[in-house]
């Protein structure tokens, strides 16, 4: 039997990255739980061995259950019956398997029934599940909500709700409303406190809620009457057993059809406050969204991997003009570019996962003891990088995923347009990744800070410090030239101190940084494993040309162009 973990050596390669050792040390705190929990690791090597073996379980469930169910789940989808969301039969089977295998609450501490895994192996699992069925990956991936409860809720709520996850509780994050999509500051769902009952109640409508009928929902609501901005919003936990929410409908969607997207009406629904009032959006949802964005990055790469594999298989099988189409340059160029871009995005994915892992592990240590000054600085540094790498990843991985799905379908020709091959489903599933958890355009708004504050550049300087073998020197030189180009572009865009002009070119600058960062990461991967050398060379070649093109456009661009841009649309409508 095949296995989604063992058939992709990249996954084990990133699990065994040297930085993961430091993460395990922080996370396991001298392996202090080895006496109290029979499944806790004894040492670093033991921990990595456990991760690998558990990821093999995930890989085998992907191969034997989730991937084979994907087509029927896509066709059947969930439905609504007496105010209850019923999953497709295959979804039920997938989830039951994962619960039985103990794969919900992977990152939660052991005292809450979790596996205490770092985020890196959790994201590897998510990538595999997304490759098997992207829609199902959402239902599984919403276990992220447990992390938010763990980080911010009271001890009482943690004790009550966290142990439910490993037993199979499902979760949802209820943020979006009809008039509050990208702009969550306008959330209107009302929360009021009843002092007699010592209880919060929720009233209002939520829309586009993935897995809306979950056991545990985190709901963003306006708790401060008369407030209008983010500072009036708090986060609440709603327990499905209260039966105080009406599911108005399940949306009919283009893709990820197995994942139920619900419109909900809260009718005086009892709920618990998470953390402090007014901190809902500012702190907790931002943290939740960052986890979700990292998850979507992994999902996008899982989908891209699935698309690539379908395309390669078809290109080998399909013969035209007397030979397999993979032999034509027009086709193999597409396929090689897919592989190269997946490799680049994957190296960024796991770099981001390690950054998040490191700073969060420090925060966990800080619950037990005061961090040393050096540790505190290290934590801050990793958090600062994680904050700008997460939107960079979400932006580039989701856009790349869409491009790869597009090309993979193209390789199939007319057959790809038919419902006969999995690629049409993969193509539809890919589309959402650049929209939800913040559109690409919103990711740029967050990521541009990495450009303007110099965070990307300082990380790039750190990569430059790392020694590489002489045979990789030519790549290092090329990357240095790309960095010079990037700096030139930033100077041109920011010299006039015009915010709209910066916004206009923001995506270009962020993508330039992304190409340099991914180039460095692949080069460093090649340093650790020779098989990455070609991938690094080809990616840097493509990235170099792309960055030159962007610089060239920026050079030609003037502030008054913005007016022209607006004028063109206005003229047409008029």
């Amino acid at each position: 039997m095949g296995n989604f973990y063992n058939d992709n050596s990249d996954l084990g390669f990133y699990l065994n990255h040297p930085d993961v050792q430091k993460i395990i040390e922080l996370k396991e705190r001298n392996f202090s739980e080895k006496e109290s929990f029979d499944y806790a690791p004894q040492n670093i090597e033991d921990a990595i061995d456990s991760y690998e073996k558990v990821l093999e379980i995930v890989g085998s469930i992907c191969e034997e259950t989730i991937a084979p169910n994907a087509e029927s789940v896509d066709q059947e989808g969930p439905h609504l019956e007496e105010n209850e969301v019923l999953y497709a039969k295959g979804t039920e089977e997938n989830y039951a398997k994962l619960v039985q295998a103990g794969l919900i609450g992977m990152t939660l501490p052991r005292k809450y029934g979790g596996l205490n895994f770092p985020i890196t192996p959790y994201i590897i699992a998510g990538e595999m599940i997304s490759r098997a069925d992207a829609g199902f990956a959402n239902i599984w991936g919403l276990q992220d909500c447990a992390e938010t409860i763990h980080e911010f809720a009271t001890q009482e709520l943690k004790d009550k709700y966290l142990p439910l996850f490993n037993k199979g509780a499902t979760a949802a994050m209820d943020l979006t409303e009809p008039d509050a999509g990208s702009d969550l500051q306008s959330v209107a769902l009302r929360a009021y406190y009843n002092a007699d009952k010592d209880q919060w109640f929720l009233n209002g409508v939520k829309r586009f809620i993935t897995n809306g009928d979950a056991d545990v929902s985190l709901v963003l609501a306006r708790s401060e009457e008369g407030s209008e901005d983010a500072r009036g919003l708090s986060l609440f936990l709603y327990d499905r057993n209260e039966h105080a929410v009406t599911i108005r409908r399940i949306e009919s969607k283009l893709g990820i059809k197995g994942s139920p997207t619900c419109e909900l009406v809260f009718n005086d629904a009892p709920a618990y406050l998470i953390g402090n009032r007014r901190m809902g959006l500012i702190k907790y949802v931002m943290s939740l969204m960052n986890s979700a964005r990292l998850g979507v990055g992994g999902q996008a790469i899982g989908i891209a991997e699935a698309a690539y594999r379908e395309a390669v298989k078809y290109a080998h099988e399909r013969a035209q003009f007397g030979k397999a189409i993979i032999q034509f340059p027009a086709v193999y160029e597409m396929l090689t570019n897919m592989r190269v871009r997946i490799a680049a995005q994957r190296s960024l994915l796991y770099e981001t996962a390690r950054l998040v892992d490191t700073y969060k592990a420090y925060l966990e240590v800080a619950e037990d003891r005061k961090l040393e000054k050096e540790e505190r600085m290290d934590q801050k540094k990793h958090q600062r990088y994680a904050d700008v790498f997460t939107p960079l990843l979400k932006l580039t991985a989701s856009e790349t995923c869409n491009n790869i799905a597009y090309d993979a379908l193209q390789v199939h020709g007319g057959a790809g347009f038919m419902k006969d091959f999995p690629i049409e489903r993969i193509y539809r599933d890919a589309r959402i990744t650049s929209i939800y958890e913040g559109t690409s355009q919103l990711q740029v708004v967050a990521a541009i800070k990495g450009v303007t504050t110099g965070s990307y550049l300082s990380r790039i300087r750190e990569y430059e410090e790392m020694q590489v073998n002489p045979e990789l020197d030519h790549l290092k030189k090329k990357l240095a030239r790309m960095t010079a180009t990037y700096e030139e572009a930033i100077a041109l865009v920011t010299e006039n101190e015009d915010q709209e002009f910066v916004d206009f070119h923001a995506r270009r600058l962020v993508e330039m940084a992304g190409n340099i960062i991914m180039g460095h990461l692949l080069m460093l991967d090649a340093q650790r494993d020779k098989s990455f050398k070609y991938l690094a060379e080809l990616f840097i070649k493509i990235g170099y040309a792309e960055n030159d093109e962007k610089l060239s456009y920026i050079k030609e661009s003037e502030i008054r162009d913005l007016g022209t841009y607006r004028q063109v649309i206005e003229d047409y409508i008029a």
């Binding site: 499944y39 456990s50 073996k53 379980i57 295998a101 794969l103």
Partner: protein, 291 residues
């Protein structure tokens, strides 16, 4: 009152479902080194049935017994990862060459040594020999009733069990008291997957022979936790009579093994119309190819 005591008999087999061209040796025997060693599929399904009973009746224990070389301890671990409580590896050079009769003799001795079991569950047959003899022979040697070809457990309590048998021309429902041996049919549900926590708990479980090779860091673990010790029994532990074992105790003699490649000997032309297809279907049904 305690739960049931269940024994699962399992065999490590070469994966004959994915055979390459090196699968057979020139002398007609299976080339074990060319094929991955796996948990016999129907034995895995038998394990699932045992675990389902354990899920239903509190304090039920499931013990896996396997006979084979040292590496067959993998079978015990695989069962632990899925929810079995412990396991016994029967291993001894003197067992080498055992046929089904000698194997069932050894397995029955092990079951007796464990003692006071309510239920023995095993797969109908192993994919390397396909004899379906070991289960029934174990029951005979232990003098207990048996129900073969079980597809589903319909009801189970501490006194009796109701099962559905999958037979060639239908199904049969039987009720039986304990002690009892069940052989499980391939149409039964697949086994559950490994559980992450159980895997991490039991991955260092090993037999005394394997313990010698464990890294020093983990030896301390074995001192602390008895559940990491996989019991290993040899001929002497079982007080086995040597004349019933190995080649000596095996009346089965393989005279010759042939490599048969199926070839098309005749063909018929079917007209691509309603009558043609109709006739073909009738013929297939008459020959029990379908239906």
């Amino acid at each position: 009152m305690k739960g049931l005591k269940i024994i699962v008999l399992a065999k490590q087999v070469p994966d004959t479902r994915n055979v390459g061209k090196d699968a057979m040796k020139a002398d007609g025997t299976v080339n074990r080194s060319a094929l991955p060693a796996i948990f016999n599929p129907e034995d895995l399904q038998a394990l699932e049935q045992a675990l389902r009973i354990k899920d239903q009746i509190p304090e039920t224990t499931v013990t896996t017994i396997t006979m084979g070389p040292v590496r067959a301890a993998n079978i015990i671990r695989e069962a632990l990862y899925r929810g079995a409580d412990d396991g016994v590896l029967i291993t001894d050079r003197r067992f080498a060459g055992s046929d089904t009769l000698a194997t069932s003799y050894a397995l029955s001795l092990a079951a007796k040594k464990i003692g006071k079991f309510d239920l023995i569950v095993c797969g109908r047959q192993a994919i390397d020999g396909d004899t379906a003899q070991v289960g029934p022979q174990v029951a005979e040697k232990l003098g207990i009733p048996q129900v073969t070809y079980v597809e589903e457990i319909l009801e189970v309590n501490k006194k009796k069990i109701t099962v559905k048998r999958r037979l060639e021309n239908g199904v049969e429902t039987l009720v039986a008291p304990y002690p009892l041996l069940l052989t499980v049919h391939g149409s039964a549900p697949e086994c559950r997957s490994r559980n992450a926590k159980l895997l991490m708990k039991f991955k260092h479980a090993c037999t005394p022979a394997e313990l010698v090779r464990e890294a020093e860091d983990y030896l301390r673990l074995h001192d602390l936790h008895d559940y990491l010790d996989i019991t290993e029994w040899n001929v002497d532990d079982l007080n086995a009579d040597l004349t019933w074992l190995g080649l000596k105790g095996s009346p089965t003699k393989v005279q010759r093994v042939e490599n048969i490649v199926f070839t098309v000997k005749e063909s018929i032309q079917v007209k691509p119309d309603k009558e043609g297809i109709d006739g073909l279907m009738k013929e297939l049904i008459a020959h029990h190819n379908v239906g």
